[in-house]
């Protein structure tokens, strides 16, 4: 079994698609990759979620939102938080990355490129507003644990960059 590949039962997929990250509302919990498995066991929905960052305050809310959404569809839910394997930004899927960019958050680069960007060695993070890569790091830590703060030197807009976590 590949642990990096989440197992989502089809019957639950539609319901989970309606639950979004409270801090990045354009991203569903499935696009984000925080739901690692969703199964129906003896009529009960058993969901395993994993935090993006250990201290992510959104996790409690995500757990509650999932329980509520399932309840609305008639399922008793059991939501469990698992730490292993640890979440990585690779688990944000393609639609998730597109949704991030559209929302104004630059999607994570590959690990090596990310290091260059965060150390300020290269200008490679693309501004989600104007598309320019003439951008500079303002702070490695941004508005939430998972983001860094950048500024575009062409359109002068500040923007969030979703930090690569591997």
């Amino acid at each position: 079994m590949n642990l990096d590949e989440p197992y989502i039962e089809e019957e639950l997929r539609g319901i989970l698609n309606g639950v979004s990250d409270p801090e990045i509302p354009v991203l569903t919990v499935l696009q984000m990759g925080v739901v690692r498995s969703a199964r129906i066991i003896n009529g009960k929905a058993v969901i395993k979620i994993t935090p993006t960052y250990s201290g992510c305050p959104a996790m409690d809310v995500i757990g509650e939102d999932i329980t509520k959404a399932l309840k609305n569809e008639g399922f008793d839910a059991d939501v469990e938080l698992v730490l292993s394997p640890a979440w990585t930004t690779d688990w944000i899927n393609k639609e998730g990355r597109e949704a991030l960019e559209k929302y104004g958050i630059a999607a994570p680069l590959e690990a090596d490129a990310d290091k260059d960007a965060l150390l300020g060695n290269k200008r490679i993070v693309k501004c989600p507003q104007c598309g320019s890569t003439n951008t500079v790091l303002v702070s490695q830590f941004g508005s939430t644990a998972c983001k860094a703060l950048f500024k575009c030197e062409d359109c002068l807009e500040p923007f969030d960059y979703f930090k690569c976590l591997k």
Binding site: P51, Y53, S54, G55, C56, P57, L83, S84, P85, A86, W87, T88, L118, L119, V138, S139, Q140, F141, G142, S143, A145, L149, K163, L165, K166
Partner: protein, 250 residues
């Protein structure tokens, strides 16, 4: 009487709890918006890791124990954090030096704990190390920037380094829990990465034109529950709510 495993979990987590609390004091008081946000982000990472450890400790303790009772309802001598992390936020130089000296240790410890024979400890380590990598980068960058900065910033960093250096040796002191759990592969031999720690620290200090302090005398005691005079004040503030309104929740 706690088991060695409980003691071990608590001694690791207490470092992060007390440092997280110290950093939390800076919320809204950082020298600039970006550093304010960075320091509190780091604090949040540390508290997140602490929650995982204390939940595990509470499970082992059983009964009514939960992460909050472990965090808030102990007496001063029951906290096993190293003295380094309880040192005050004297100025930004001290904050960064304290962070820098802890982060390099923290990273190396978590790196080794990834292969702990205890599954939960290994899982927390695999999660934490990704976060701690950012902490190391942040504090090391500031050491370089201030150490190799103006005459004033250089002097302040050197001063903080000289003052806090005496707390580094304690990081590698083996406790009873460390020793008890070594054979089963749960704990790690701290001496095994001591040289690597000092080598990493010194390499950043050289780049930063900061002299590595030479000290033959080191302060110890935190791992045995004997703390500096600062600890009582930290706990007074941290425990106020749970002591005044027992069992209160958000």
């Amino acid at each position: 009487m706690n088991s060695s495993l409980e003691n071990y979990i608590i001694q690791i987590a207490d470092n992060s709890l007390i440092l997280g609390q110290r950093l939390g004091e800076l919320c809204g008081h950082g020298p600039s918006l970006e550093t304010d946000i960075a320091l509190t982000n780091i604090s949040l990472d540390l508290f997140g890791q602490v929650r995982s450890y204390y939940q595990y400790a509470a499970k082992l303790q059983g009964g009514d124990a939960n992460e909050d009772t472990v965090a808030f309802l102990r007496k001063e001598n029951e906290y096993k954090n190293v003295l380094l992390v309880e040192q005050p936020n004297t100025d930004f130089g001290y904050v960064i030096v304290r962070q820098f000296l802890f982060d390099h240790f923290h990273w190396l410890l978590q790196d080794k704990l990834q292969s702990s024979s205890d599954e939960t400890i290994a899982a927390i380590a695999k999660k934490s190390i990704k976060e701690v990598s950012y902490h190391v980068r942040f504090s090391s960058d500031w050491i370089r920037r201030l150490g190799d900065g103006t005459a004033e910033s250089h002097e302040r960093i050197q001063q903080a380094m000289n003052d806090l250096w005496v707390y580094t040796d304690e990081l590698f002191q083996m406790t009873d829990a460390d020793i008890d759990l070594l054979e089963s592969g749960v704990s790690v031999d701290l001496a095994a990465f001591r040289d690597e720690y000092y080598a990493r620290v010194k390499s950043v200090l050289e780049e930063s034109t900061i002299e590595t302090p030479e000290s033959k005398y080191f302060q110890k005691g935190g791992k045995k529950g004997i703390h500096t005079e600062h600890m009582g004040f930290i706990l007074t503030e941290m425990q106020y709510m749970q002591r005044t309104y027992p069992n209160m929740t958000w």
